[in-house]
């Protein structure tokens, strides 16, 4: 006998509720994909019909690609979020290693600084960051690379503290013996970090990478501040502008939503185990 004792009468309402909620998360996405292959009038007439035969059209997609630079926006998103992910992993990895393994005065103070930094909402720093970057001349420039860089900087800062908390928790649990052996063999601290800590802590680096990438990819708030010209838009920013331009063209909207979410669905399907772990790790640990 265990807690999962089955009695079939009880199971029917349980599954009914669970399936109902599953439908609320799946069906809307299926619905929007389905309608992205129909013209506006057909969506309004009957949005539940499958887009087969006469109903099927690719016009929405054609128009979406003609109207806005979708490929460019994908590339911009990859550049910004890729940079954020890489820099966060590197800086947070080094800092966590030092905080966990070295004993020095002020280390617990620094750790509490890290924890406190998690509480800073983006709203309370964004304006001064913008003004600071404007005075350096990186933001508001017509140079695409500069703008993407300016957008990545505050995102890195916003993700660092979370990353340090996750990574230092993991590095603390690693056995010291390997590092001692490497030290005996004559490795320097830098070599120990590169050859032992990084390979051993791979799972938690993956967690951090997934979290930072998704967070940055989906973050509309920072993007609206820092990416000003159309050729600099990343994908979420592009979506926002598209609503302003073509908000009443429902077929096009459906196509745009589909274009943005399909890559995410594919990645999620492959990596769901790590993604779920990555996005909830901070909460469970903290």
């Amino acid at each position: 006998m265990n807690k999962k004792k089955t009695s079939y009468a009880w199971m029917i309402p349980v599954y009914a509720i669970l399936i109902f909620w599953a439908l609320t998360t799946i069906y809307p996405l299926g619905w929007v994909m389905m309608n992205s292959f129909k013209v506006k009038n057909e969506i309004i007439a009957n949005s539940f019909a499958l887009p087969t035969g006469e109903l099927f059209t690719l016009a929405n997609y054609k128009r979406a690609f003609d109207r806005v630079p979708i490929f460019g926006a994908y590339v911009n998103s990859l550049i910004v979020s890729g940079t954020v992910t890489f820099v966060v992993m590197a800086l947070a990895g080094m800092a966590s290693f030092a905080l966990v393994r070295y004993q020095f005065r002020g280390s617990s103070f620094l750790m509490s600084v890290v924890v406190a930094s998690m509480m800073f909402p983006a709203f309370s720093t964004i304006v001064p960051v913008f003004r600071m970057e404007a005075s350096w001349g990186v933001v508001n420039s017509s140079n695409r690379w500069m703008s993407l860089f300016s957008c990545a900087l505050p995102q890195v800062a916003g993700n660092l503290s979370f990353a340090i908390i996750v990574l230092s928790g993991y590095i603390r649990s690693l056995p010291l013996e390997l590092e001692e052996a490497a030290f005996m063999e004559g490795c320097s601290a830098l070599q120990i970090f590169g050859k032992i800590i990084i390979p051993l802590a791979k799972p938690s680096f993956a967690t951090v990478a997934i979290f930072s990438f998704l967070w940055s990819y989906n973050d509309l708030f920072t993007q609206t501040f820092f990416l000003r010209l159309p050729k600099q838009w990343a994908i979420t920013r592009l979506l926002k502008e598209l609503t302003a331009m073509e908000g009443t063209n429902y077929g096009l909207m459906a196509a745009a939503v589909t274009i943005v979410i399909v890559p995410v669905i594919v990645v999620y399907a492959c990596l769901q185990k790590y993604i779920i772990k990555g996005l909830t790790a901070g909460a469970i640990k903290g």
């Binding site: 599953a22 809307p28 304006v127 913008f130 890195v156 903290g286």
Partner: protein, 292 residues
């Protein structure tokens, strides 16, 4: 012993902490200063101190929209607390009872979180479309005549809260389910030998043992509600209709960027921080973590 030599320490620590100081701590302090200054536009130079220096804060008290935003944000906090965590708790307890399909539900429930709130905003715009989105077509299928304007002033808040809450149920679901899995199975066994029925086991065993995990969820949900921005801004930009849907976050954005009243935006950001601190304090005081 190996880490006696402290020289590499600087190399390891300085980059990360320099980043945080320059892009987090310094701007945070500057933001408070900026809220006392005259700044017209994001990159415009400051035109000195306001007269009197705290005038943004007195203005806030008289600004009707600030009160609307505060009221809506508090409502959103309450709604996420009750519905987001509530639904997640029910779903987690139910999934904990079943054998087949638990993994499937976990994957499906978590799924909306990875999709950008911007895309979801567009999606829900289509779903709640008056003429004629998914919901109104559903109503028609069930014989309801006429179209409902889901974005009308009296319904706008509910229409805005539904997707916000819906998106994050899966997050709390996963956290709670992990908490449930940590409860040892033999406790349930003992309880059922003692004659506790299913409901009693949930009430007197599961819920008390889940208390601390629930606390975490409640704190995350209330502070998370303050950070919601993307979805409301896409569905109800600029507080439409008739300033009914302002949140502190959207109102702060509106003034920093769109009205070029940047110093006022800074003051609103200070308000958001204060609200976050107060909310966290209150929640902590009510739902104290317990040791068993």
């Amino acid at each position: 012993m190996i880490y006696k030599n402290k020289k590499p320490l600087v190399l390891f620590l300085v980059p990360a902490f320099a980043f945080m100081v320059v892009f987090l701590h310094y701007p945070f302090v500057m933001n408070i200063f900026n809220s006392f200054q005259k700044i017209g536009g994001l990159a415009a130079p400051s035109k000195g101190w306001l007269d009197p220096w705290y005038s943004n804060y007195t203005e806030m008290f008289q600004d009707k929209n600030v009160w609307i935003a505060l009221k809506n944000t508090l409502l959103l906090m309450a709604a996420t607390l009750i519905f987001e965590v509530g639904i997640a708790l029910v779903l987690a307890i139910l999934v904990d009872q079943i054998r087949i399909g638990a993994k499937f539900f976990r994957i499906v429930y978590f799924f909306p979180i990875v999709i950008s709130a911007t895309a979801l905003g567009l999606l829900f715009n289509l779903i709640f479309l008056m003429d004629k989105g998914m919901v109104n077509q559903f109503m028609e299928l069930f014989g309801y005549e006429g179209l409902i304007d889901w974005k009308a002033e009296n319904r706008a808040l509910v229409t805005m809260f539904i997707p916000v809450i819906w998106q994050y149920v899966g997050f709390y679901f996963v956290i709670l389910l992990t908490g449930l899995n940590n409860i040892p199975a033999d406790l349930y066994e003992v309880a059922s030998i003692d004659g506790a029925n299913r409901w009693q086991r949930i009430r007197y065993l599961t819920l008390p043992l889940l208390h601390n995990v629930l606390c975490t969820c409640v704190i995350l949900a209330t502070t998370g509600a303050l950070k919601v921005f993307d979805l409301p801004w896409i569905m109800f930009p600029k507080g439409m209709p008739q300033n009914a849907t302002w949140l502190t976050s959207t109102y702060m954005y509106y003034h920093s960027v769109e009205t070029r009243n940047t110093d006022y935006g800074c003051a609103l950001a200070v308000l958001i921080v204060a609200l976050g601190i107060v909310a966290a304090r209150v929640v902590n005081a009510i739902f104290k973590e317990k040791d068993y």
